[in-house]
């Protein structure tokens, strides 16, 4: 039966929490005692990542490698870590794969639900703030080792520039002006970006340094996957501009890596 009682509530997360808490089992876990008894070595979630974002002259590039790691094994070779959220924003996730994907999905639904019910898009800053609540609600799982850390980027239509937001495990939200990278290879990627980034960088140059930063991360970090020329698996790159979120075609990404390798 159609329940009309939630009219005026544009917060999908809150509606789920109240009406369908079973759908939020992992994201909203307050039961920390049950899994505390599980020996740590018996259960390893897929994890390990490098995801990053770089602001360029007309927007922002967001990218991530494709590998998920299970202990010392490769868990998945073509996992997706970057997701479009609405027409002007994208989210990348690092941490335990299951809860990561769930958070990205929930966040995307939340933003779309707001847009459809209110008839107007949630502002970029509003989206960034809401994501803090989602990260904080995952604290119980984070304490058990199932951490989810997102990187959020988008094109702010009112301020007419690309913006990047990073988070800590308790939901703290911090803005980065030019670039940022997170995950097990985040530090390596940041080193490359630090050397190669210049303000007002062009789209092409931004794509090049993003490819290079992911290459360096894969080179140094065992849990980050590099371009796989045999299986044709390449990192995912998205650009977010005034015109919208666009995935950089695989052929272009392959071209970036073939150029990079020829210069090594």
């Amino acid at each position: 039966m159609l329940d009309l009682s939630d009219y005026g509530n544009s917060d999908f997360f809150q509606i789920l929490k109240r009406r369908h808490p079973e759908l939020l089992a992992t994201l909203n876990s307050s039961d920390t005692t049950a899994s505390r008894n599980v020996p740590e070595a018996s259960f390893r979630p897929y994890e390990g990542t490098t995801v990053l974002a770089v602001v360029y002259d007309s927007g922002v590039v967001m990218a991530g490698d494709r590998q998920a790691t299970e202990g010392y094994q490769i868990g998945e070779r073509r996992i997706q870590k970057v997701y479009p959220v609405d027409r002007h924003s994208a989210i990348a996730v690092a941490g335990a794969a299951g809860p990561c994907i769930e958070m990205a999905k929930l966040f995307q639904v939340e933003v779309e639900f707001y847009e459809k019910t209110e008839g107007i898009s949630l502002s970029l800053e509003g989206q960034a703030n809401f994501l803090s609540h989602l990260v904080r609600s995952n604290l119980g799982l984070a304490m058990q080792g199932l951490i989810v850390l997102p990187l959020f980027a988008g094109y702010d239509l009112k301020r007419q520039r690309g913006r990047i937001f990073k988070y800590d495990a308790v939901g703290g939200r911090y803005e980065e002006d030019d670039y940022h990278a997170i995950g097990s290879g985040g530090k390596d990627a940041r080193t490359t970006l630090k050397k190669r980034y210049t303000p007002e960088i062009s789209r092409q140059n931004a794509l090049e340094i993003v490819a290079e930063a992911l290459w360096d991360a894969a080179d140094e970090d065992i849990a980050t996957g590099g371009p796989d020329l045999v299986r044709k698996i390449f990192p995912t790159l998205y650009t977010v501009t005034q015109e919208g979120v666009t995935e950089v075609p695989e052929a272009t990404v392959e071209g970036l890596y073939r150029d990079l390798i020829s210069r090594l």
């Binding site: 159609l2 009309l4 009219y7 009406r19 759908l23 639904v109 639900f113 459809k116 008839g119």
Partner: protein
């Protein structure tokens, strides 16, 4: 204790139906029409933010004639139920048929309640097919459901009309509709139909890009197939 007046069930039903018919007779029309790339939905509506046609889910839109406030609450409930279902299972599992049943149940219950006024609205639930499915897949089909105030619904083909002069408009479409129209031709057909019908009723009646609400569900678009056309786009399409 006083004895309540006896009123026959037929009388109650007839009274409610007459009451709603009078309301709907005033309502401006909404037309849904299948064109080459999907479903085109057009309403007479000069307002800029209160809409009669809106996005519910990836392939589904809802259109209404009648009281906008009563429609609004059903619209939001439909979005909520769809998102919950899509989150629980898979986005493709949210269908117009399922949503139509939800609305139908609710509207039927309200219409039958002895202490409630029936909803003075009619709905069209529209679902567009997708072109990236195999040729014989049911995912390719367009669907249109017409729900009356009392929850009774019917499945329509090619086109459907709700609102005061729905019958007159349907009669014209029966003669002029052809399969596979381009979007501009489909829009022209609908606006011509509006003009023909309204010309009998009102003097100085004008249909311009400013007085209509134009939306479409496009088969070729990925995931979110609903789109609201801007006044500029409508102006170009109609060649004003």
């Amino acid at each position: 204790m006083s004895t309540p007046y006896y009123v026959s069930p037929e009388q109650i039903r007839q009274d409610k139906e007459d009451f709603v018919r009078r309301g709907i007779a005033q309502a401006k029309e909404v037309v849904v029409l299948e064109y080459r790339d999907g479903l085109l939905m057009v309403a007479e509506n000069p307002r800029k933010t209160t809409f009669k046609i809106s996005e519910i889910y990836d392939r589904i839109a809802l259109a209404a004639a009648g009281r906008i406030a009563e429609y609004e609450i059903l619209r939001v409930a439909g979005i909520r139920e769809s998102e919950v279902k899509g989150f629980r299972y898979y986005r493709e599992d949210v269908t117009a048929k399922w949503l139509t049943n939800l609305y139908s149940q609710h509207m039927g219950a309200v219409a039958q309640a002895w202490d409630a006024k029936p909803l003075e609205i009619e709905l069209l639930v529209c679902e567009v097919g997708t072109t990236d499915a195999p040729a014989n897949s049911e995912l390719r089909n367009n669907q249109i459901y017409h729900i009356a105030f009392d929850g009774i619904y019917s499945e329509e083909e090619k086109y459907a009309v709700i609102g005061g002069r729905a019958t007159a408009i349907t009669e014209i479409l029966e003669q002029r509709y052809t399969d596979g129209l381009e979007v501009a031709a489909a829009l022209q057909l609908i606006t011509d139909t509006f003009r023909t019908v309204e010309a009998d009723a009102e003097d100085n009646y004008e249909i311009t890009p400013q007085t209509i609400e134009v939306t479409c569900l496009e088969q070729t678009v990925e995931r979110r197939k609903f789109r609201r056309l801007s006044t500029d786009e409508v102006t170009t399409l109609l060649g004003f």
